[in-house]
Symmetry: D2
Subunit: 461 residues, 4 copies
Amino acid sequence: MADKFLKIAYIGGGSRAWARKLMCDLAISEDITGEVRLYDIDKGAANDNRAIGNKISEMAEGGKKWNYVAVDDIDNALKGCDAVIISVMPGTLDEMASDVDVPMSYGIYQPVGDTVGAGGYLRAMRCVPMFRFFAAKIRENCPSAWVINYTNPMTICTRTLYEEFPDIKAFGCCHEVFGTQELLAAALKDVCGIEAESRDEIKVDVCGINHFTWITKAYYKDIDLFEVFEKFSDKYAGKGFCANGKKEAWLSNVFDCGNCIKFELFRRYGVIPAAGDRHLSEFMPQKWFLESPETALEKWKFALTPVSWRRQDLKERLQETKDILSGKKIVKLGKSGEEGVKQLKALFGSDGFVTNINMPNKGQMKGYPTGAIVETNGLFGLNGITPLLANPLPDEVNSLVLRHVYNQEAFIKAAFRKSIDKVFAVYVNDPQVASLDFSAAREMFDKMVANTEKYLKGYWF
Amino acid sequence: MADKFLKIAYIGGGSRAWARKLMCDLAISEDITGEVRLYDIDKGAANDNRAIGNKISEMAEGGKKWNYVAVDDIDNALKGCDAVIISVMPGTLDEMASDVDVPMSYGIYQPVGDTVGAGGYLRAMRCVPMFRFFAAKIRENCPSAWVINYTNPMTICTRTLYEEFPDIKAFGCCHEVFGTQELLAAALKDVCGIEAESRDEIKVDVCGINHFTWITKAYYKDIDLFEVFEKFSDKYAGKGFCANGKKEAWLSNVFDCGNCIKFELFRRYGVIPAAGDRHLSEFMPQKWFLESPETALEKWKFALTPVSWRRQDLKERLQETKDILSGKKIVKLGKSGEEGVKQLKALFGSDGFVTNINMPNKGQMKGYPTGAIVETNGLFGLNGITPLLANPLPDEVNSLVLRHVYNQEAFIKAAFRKSIDKVFAVYVNDPQVASLDFSAAREMFDKMVANTEKYLKGYWF
Amino acid sequence: MADKFLKIAYIGGGSRAWARKLMCDLAISEDITGEVRLYDIDKGAANDNRAIGNKISEMAEGGKKWNYVAVDDIDNALKGCDAVIISVMPGTLDEMASDVDVPMSYGIYQPVGDTVGAGGYLRAMRCVPMFRFFAAKIRENCPSAWVINYTNPMTICTRTLYEEFPDIKAFGCCHEVFGTQELLAAALKDVCGIEAESRDEIKVDVCGINHFTWITKAYYKDIDLFEVFEKFSDKYAGKGFCANGKKEAWLSNVFDCGNCIKFELFRRYGVIPAAGDRHLSEFMPQKWFLESPETALEKWKFALTPVSWRRQDLKERLQETKDILSGKKIVKLGKSGEEGVKQLKALFGSDGFVTNINMPNKGQMKGYPTGAIVETNGLFGLNGITPLLANPLPDEVNSLVLRHVYNQEAFIKAAFRKSIDKVFAVYVNDPQVASLDFSAAREMFDKMVANTEKYLKGYWF
Amino acid sequence: MADKFLKIAYIGGGSRAWARKLMCDLAISEDITGEVRLYDIDKGAANDNRAIGNKISEMAEGGKKWNYVAVDDIDNALKGCDAVIISVMPGTLDEMASDVDVPMSYGIYQPVGDTVGAGGYLRAMRCVPMFRFFAAKIRENCPSAWVINYTNPMTICTRTLYEEFPDIKAFGCCHEVFGTQELLAAALKDVCGIEAESRDEIKVDVCGINHFTWITKAYYKDIDLFEVFEKFSDKYAGKGFCANGKKEAWLSNVFDCGNCIKFELFRRYGVIPAAGDRHLSEFMPQKWFLESPETALEKWKFALTPVSWRRQDLKERLQETKDILSGKKIVKLGKSGEEGVKQLKALFGSDGFVTNINMPNKGQMKGYPTGAIVETNGLFGLNGITPLLANPLPDEVNSLVLRHVYNQEAFIKAAFRKSIDKVFAVYVNDPQVASLDFSAAREMFDKMVANTEKYLKGYWF
């Protein structure tokens, strides 16, 4: 059978690292070939990506299968596409600095600040106008294309796509669950001395919402990994364990953590949280894990990611781009570990498989509102993703998760009514923001709005 | 038609005031007559109530319709009864002191402390063994009797009855909604100059959970009271308004409040909370309304009820009992404003009517878990209460309410598994307790358990 | 308080008798006054009704409270209305003759032919274009008016209004349940010798779909009417009993019946069907009650209503109209027994009350599809009707009812896609039509479509 | 990794052919080994199976992995088992003759008579006492064993297991969907000239109830098989097509059919029924496909299976057993095409996979009652089967299917109350039985009960 020819629009992708992973996965993928249209408001970035994409594509054994083009106009990028990938930065690092630093000045510490909480909701306010625009353009140019969103806040962005264009075929992808599978593999090795060949062998039933997802069942062949994880968490609770094998990695790398939040919550609730501790911490009351940067690091074994770090990291990635373009650095072809290309292949006729996915609830999470974006397992097949029925979460965990689900639903309604006051009602409901009284919360909110006004004006006011 | 003869068992009732109201309502009720069997672990109290009950009964125009007897044995009290009223004190004021004072020493202020929060859950732990016992005894002695519960925590107590004996015909009654109807009547007068003849004319659609109930629609004849309440809350927000007409009553009476929480929440969410501010405050994050007793009083216009006040109040009520028994004080016959007797009459064949009621959710609150005790309107009729379908709450409010609903459901499961650790997982989830870190919370919990151990031993450990 | 002034549009009303009842009820109603705008495609009928309406209005004690005007243009009729009443004849008696007589030639006997079955679906096909038009005009001219529909097929007509204009405030009214309450009153008298003062005292819990509604609980004061009806149906099953007291009334009056279907179904299922036997019979397999006109009459004690009878009846009503206009006949002022005016009053601020009503399912019937029109009890109040949660029906009855509910939902989708073939798929699914094989059914369908083509062309083809 | 050692109880299995397939699949399965305990009320049959099982087991390449033992006592058979297989004959061919022949004398023709309809419900009445007994014994002896049921009526038998022992880990397996996958493979070849390598490559989304299951989506690699099937059914509707390639096979083999019912229903509803036409026909009104044996064969291209055929077939299978035991005939080792062993392997730690399965509805079929046994896709994994969320069926199809679902639920309630009258209410509701009037239906029912009394007495009366 001949390779399937796909037209893919890639919206954004300035983050470089991420785009490169996809380019590699495409270059070596079997069964599919095609064209990638790069659209970015930063035209230079799109052009760089075009050059690098084609470079990578040419490295593939068996020759170049993908042609990369930079497109100035979103309509031209989307027209007749089979698939759309959205991976944008809503604002710049300046906005992200406001999202993180203003709350910090009120004693609210966010290790990431891009999901829920003070920073998450401001970022969401910036995303809504963009994602309504994307959805409208997709409806106009390629209504039956599959749309993968990688942008955070994942839930709000994906939900906005559906609210604007209910028939959109969109889903959100996130690799946080993969990291937890790797932790389970490490536990299997640590407790039983058994080494799994790959993450895929660690089977997990997941449900919840993005970055606050939970594993209700896990196994490797005929071994129940909950029994393994119980021993493992008893061993490392309070001490920390880093899945990558590095000792106390959290002290030196802002992306690493000791998984102490996972151990704590598993021991309390009997289910395993399936995201990095940095993300998890932001969903719960401030006093639990984020009283101060010091307790976070010392007691719970994870660090905050300062925006200064992100600025430095960006600089390095920009340099790396230059080096690749100049030939000074060579991209090494290989699987990225991400699943986007595997998912696309399945949607267009290759082997189906089960993985975690963010989609509107149409029954996969009982007791959760219809239409809310939930993260559960789904079976990928030709032109469809079928959700698997999720196991029920313990009621104590529903108590933690549903407050966010309803807050997110309220946010979407507020956003489509363009009501700043209704957004504020959501904002104060957030368990982190709720550590302030109303007047402090309002002052903080107003500052954050003012700081990022450039991205809000014209839509919100 | 001859009066219907009813056998009513009254479990508890030591609180005196409450029992007296019922006695008056029974004495003057038409259509029904019968026997009231008083059962109390404090036999003296039951005996006093017997004497007072008969005294009141004899005062009725048209002669004595009810015979009161004190019964030592719960089986004898319940055997063959038509109705059972449960109004018990789970422990003494010493236990209540622990419920309120221990948390206070950790900076957690509870104006009441009997519903959710640190005090509420400890009280609930004491209630579960009692209510399992009551339910089992009812199943044994009078399985088809109607059971009215007045005891707090209302939700947990009623839920326990159903968990123990799923076919029980029980419901919980609370007058907090009545108080909000009176506030609406006051608003009608204040804003429109119209005086409602009675609370019954203020029609309200309510839903939520006991003490955290919400009015989604209210009217008086053809006047929409939401428009009225909007003007009213604009006028009194921040200043306070007391429904009984007394100026700044909250400064002198611990049971009064200025309704500033109701104004705040209504202005934020667009629905009217239907309980006293003292109760409402306990369901939300500490920083909102309970940062300190001073901010509560000064900013939000309500006071905490110290247990010392309750001790003094009890003393006065005991003296009053003596005075009534000795004839020094005469009870004045008249309607109490409570609805218990009206409800009983409807269940046994008198006119039906609609009022708010605590019952298991069987669909009246969509999106809420089946079986959880919710408070909505219900139509009373012969041998049945039919819930009315509740209007949906705003998502922001669901975010606030559902965290408690799932916490309460988790508590019940923990309680039937007798797991102290699972109760603690519920306890830390509470938005008030969540203002502490885990170790402080655990320490506080352990102290509270130790203080009230007498009522927990034999069931929980 | 001054009377409320209402503007009411009355669409249709040519049937005369029905309009007159409403005119009488309005004339003597307290609390409301106003204007009635009569719109009918038969302008003469509207004019006659205007004259009669004003005549009746003037007869009222205390003077004329309502002004009737005939309006040629539907926009003018609806503009700014507070309420709209729809009571139209979809076609003429010629179309009704086709609905009834064509199926009869295939051995399918329909006592009425206006609800489900061969005749019901053809009538529904004629109604859909009309009701889409009405809904669109209401959206345009008076989107917040209350709309009462009296037209059959009740379910399809009301459902069409909502499908076209989801925010419409419409409900369907039918007096079939009242007739069953009267039968229960007769049973009470027959079995217990007790005479109820009025139908209102017979309390019933109803649910199902229009003309196939079921009573799951019934009582009079403290008497359980199910126990009464059990004795009653044992006594009269097979023999027949006519609620109006006339012996074997079904032999002489096509609208009377012996209630033998009600007795049969109650004895089998334990719940009481709440519509006339003529309507009930059409929902079930042909062999049950409609094998032939003879078995219907002899065994089940009800007659078919021939269209010739309707023609004669119409002639008499037209003569009666002339006689009233000429003064030869005087209308007697008095309550009609219908509830439309009482409902309007409640919606505009008078006393609320509970009655049966056809509205979209939003949870009142668990297990039934959301949005389907179901008939249950509802509480009328200011500007709202709150459904009561229905008791579950026995599964055997759900098996009978749900096939129609899903058929009706399928019909609506077919109708909005204007697909004749999809309507045919619904048509053959009907338990009566299912007594034919596909080719006979298609032949019959095509004939019926051809006969009533005039009302279908332009919409369906 | 060493093979997993499993203890399997096999209840029944007298049908020989079926048991042999399993024996072959076990013999050649990798990863598992163990013991099979054969329990049959016909001890001779169990003994024969033991001998044959061991014979087959010894033929395996790599040696004997399974030991077969015949066990007289069900407790000994079940004690400590890992898995239980139930494949029993509820009665003998004499009872089956009554199930089929009595209705035939009333003009009701059942091609099979073992699922719904007159024969299906009588068979169900015989099954209930047996399956309650099995469930109780499993609870006692091996409560955490996996239980596969192969017995018809599949839905009722599996539902009975759960009603008796709600925590049972049971599911029902049926190969009818496989046959439809093969038909789709044949269509793919016929229309596109493409040959699928195996049935597994034909991916289908299925839902419904056993023998009345529907395919809502089907594909082969990137080919949408609905488009293929549309052309295919246009080509063969009315003519018939046999998946096994034999021309007009239905004329000579009672198990073959021309799939004309599938073509007819697909063209009407747009979804593909996924069972043999012989089964499908029994779920719909008599006039549709079963007016007479002649129209079934001539118009719809399928034959009835007379019990005389089954008697002859049984005789041949008994002879075959003898021949195998005597060595005259040699069983050929090879995959059976059934999935039981693959499922067991997955449940005990081998590769997971997705297939269709009969299990209680816990949300996989929205709008269907919770707990009813539905057939949908499920993902097999270690110690669990996770249902996939089913696509919604068209409302016209729900109208057909739900009447049976509610009838089956009503049957179960009747069966656990042991009420013959309630069963009769279910029986007359069946669309086939509904072609009789009540008295004929009752007469037929009573005859069938009398004929099979031996299997009903002691439980039902």
